[in-house]
């Protein structure tokens, strides 16, 4: 099987570019993986006949059958635990968790078994399971449907955690994740599912590499998932006010592509990390720590975090107060530039 750090090439003969929503880009990515590898099976609640509540698996059960696109019983622990067994038997389960807030019944299998199996078996057993999680807020949902719980998994050694932010990446990253030998938690920013963009040919960028999505000179802004678009809008606005932001889409949260990050911060001397998740012990905390450890003398100002407040995700009528937006990013830019 291919190495996930190199581009998936088998599908590169298809006709690219194509325009797609991010949701459909994942559908076509899943389809390509399933065509390429008969061991790939999808499991989850309502993913078959309904095609998933976000329709990401729409049409796949019809084409690949009920054995490969499985409407599971309503039990996340059961889904994840049986995914372990299927992987032991040589399958590559791709599990859909319906919403971020429903992964917790499966948490035990993910952190206690899936993350540790390779180390426990001295490398004899690998569990190439992909867990797809639609995550994040901004869609006006009720409780448990808007969470950003990536830090729990990034904190767990043995797991890899990636986040897509646009159709092109979503399409290719899901295929790379499925080819990865290690378990991958694959986050999909649900409020960007309907964003349209172009899917280009197979990228040379590896799954765990960050992407500089906008070059700049004054401040490095690190973002991922739903916040990439927000941050790019902020960069546009900042430019009109004469400040140049370099925006890096992290794409991978574990591992972190520190080479790209540090190179940028050494140039700009200023850094902001933006995520929806609460800042306390979030990804921003790790990034700020590593940046000050590794390029302290290049910094003109402290690394700032813009994120959710440290409260349970609030009721939808005030979620815009909770979520970082363009103004909060610009506010942080102002504070940094004052140094």
């Amino acid at each position: 099987m291919g190495d996930a750090t190199t581009a998936t090439t088998a599908a590169s003969t298809a006709n690219y570019p194509v325009n797609s929503t991010m949701a459909k880009a994942i559908t076509t990515g899943l389809r390509a993986s399933m065509e390429r590898d008969p061991k790939v099976i999808l499991m989850g609640e309502d993913i078959g006949k309904l095609g998933g509540v976000f329709r990401v698996t729409e049409g796949l059960q019809k084409d690949f059958g009920e054995d490969r696109v499985v409407d599971t019983p309503l039990a996340e622990a059961g889904i994840m635990g049986t995914a372990v067994g299927l992987a032991l038997r040589g399958y590559r389960p791709v599990v859909e968790i319906q919403f971020d807030g429903f992964v917790y019944p499966a948490f035990d299998h993910i952190v206690s078994t899936i993350a540790k199996m390779r180390a426990r078996s001295l490398g004899h057993v690998e569990l190439p399971i992909v867990v797809r999680i639609p995550f994040g807020g901004g869609i006006g949902a009720v409780e448990h449907h808007s969470e950003s719980n990536e830090a729990y998994f990034a904190h767990t050694a043995g797991l890899r955690v990636v986040v897509c932010s646009n159709p092109h990446d979503a399409h290719w990253m899901i295929q790379q994740a499925i080819e990865c030998r290690d378990p991958v938690i694959f986050y999909e920013p649900k409020r960007r599912y309907w964003d349209k963009g172009e899917i280009g040919p197979a990228p040379s960028r590896g799954l765990f590499e960050a992407a500089t999505v906008r070059p700049g000179t004054d401040v490095t802004v690190l973002a991922y998932g739903p916040m990439v678009r927000t941050t790019l809008q902020a960069a546009q606005a900042a430019e009109e006010e004469g400040t140049s932001l370099e925006v890096i889409d992290l794409r991978s949260l574990s591992p972190l592509d520190m080479d790209v990050i540090l190179e940028s911060v050494r140039r700009t001397g200023r850094c902001i990390v933006v995520h929806e998740a609460s800042t306390f012990l979030g990804l921003g905390a790790e990034l700020a720590a590593q940046i000050q450890e590794k390029c302290f003398y290049s910094l003109e100002a402290p690394v700032l975090r813009v994120g959710g407040y440290n409260v349970p995700y609030p009721q939808s009528r005030i979620e815009e107060d909770f979520l970082p937006d363009l103004d909060r990013v610009l506010d942080a830019v102002d504070r940094l530039m004052a140094h």
Binding site: E45, D46, G48, K49, L50, G51, V53, D71, T72, P73, L74, A75, A77, G78, G101, F102, Y104, P105, G140, A141, V142, E143, H144, F280, Y309, N310, V311, P312, P314, Q315, S316, R317, I318, E319, D321, F322, D327, R328, D331
Partner: protein
Amino acid sequence: MIQLLTPEGELVESAPQQYRDIAASLTDDELRGFYRDLVLTRRFDAEATALQRQGELGLWASLLGQEAAQVGSGRALRPQDYAFPTYREHGVAWCRGVDPVNLMGMFRGVNHGGWDPNDKNFHLYTIIIGAQTLHATGYAMGVQRDGAVGTGDPDRDTAVIAYFGDGATSQGDVSEALVFAGVNNSPVVFFCQNNQFAISEPNEKQTRAPLYHRARGFGFPGLRVDGNDILAVYAVTKVALDAARSGEGPSFIEAFTYRMGAHTTSDDPTKYRLSAEVERWKLRDPIERLKAWLAHEGKADRAFFDAIAKEADDLGADVRARCIALPDPAGTDMFEYVYGEDHPVMVAEREEFTAYQSSFEGAH
């Protein structure tokens, strides 16, 4: 399956005597009260669906078709009993005296629940599938420790009822709740509304055996009741609650019913089920069934039915007006109730938030 009234509204003479006696002991006032509950519940539920369509609610989970299962069981509860609902138990909430507008708060996004569960002994709606069955069991274990079972005092002996769906039975939490209730002989009734679907997945995706069979493996009784027959639901729930209160332990009721509407307003059931099936279940409508029987028995007349219809429309209008008038929360509300004792991060962030918000004042 226990049934006391056929879909056509005729008494089932062959039903177990114990349940027929309970139904027979209901006064005409109580029976008319059941009818009123069913109609009013359906009415405000329909109003909520309409409010969602008009953008006033973000989401609504309709109970259409499940009114008898909810009102029948809800009316068997005593004030000291405690109910643990899912997100669809609007009819039970109604029986407990929870204001329907309170139910709408979380669907409108002004709060995550917002009523005081201990006010009417009706817990907050639980979205995490199955979790509340364990909470109910733990509550029942507390009732045991308080000595509030088996005293013979009808105002003191307490039962707990846990509501959940057919899909929920697949969750480990539900099996664990059955284990805990069984080994502790706790006063809890597991009330499963089998509405045939968990979003798109039909019963076959969740179970090979009838759901009520499960109870037996955990060491307590289970039965299936016609969930669209309010008399039968009331009777079997009353027996189960009485048993729990008197110290005989848990039981499991599978109310066999049908989700007539979409899973929620976000769902499109045409993707996964046939409208012919829905049409078949329309003939088993819980309200029409009771109405036919009441009319036939001369327990209610045209004037009564008309008055209830009028009351229902008034309720719809009232609920609509008060739902739309629900005040939006302040942004600072997100910090208000998280901790009971001061937490420095919370204090600092609330200040930061307030300062940030006020930096926009006068900006427009």
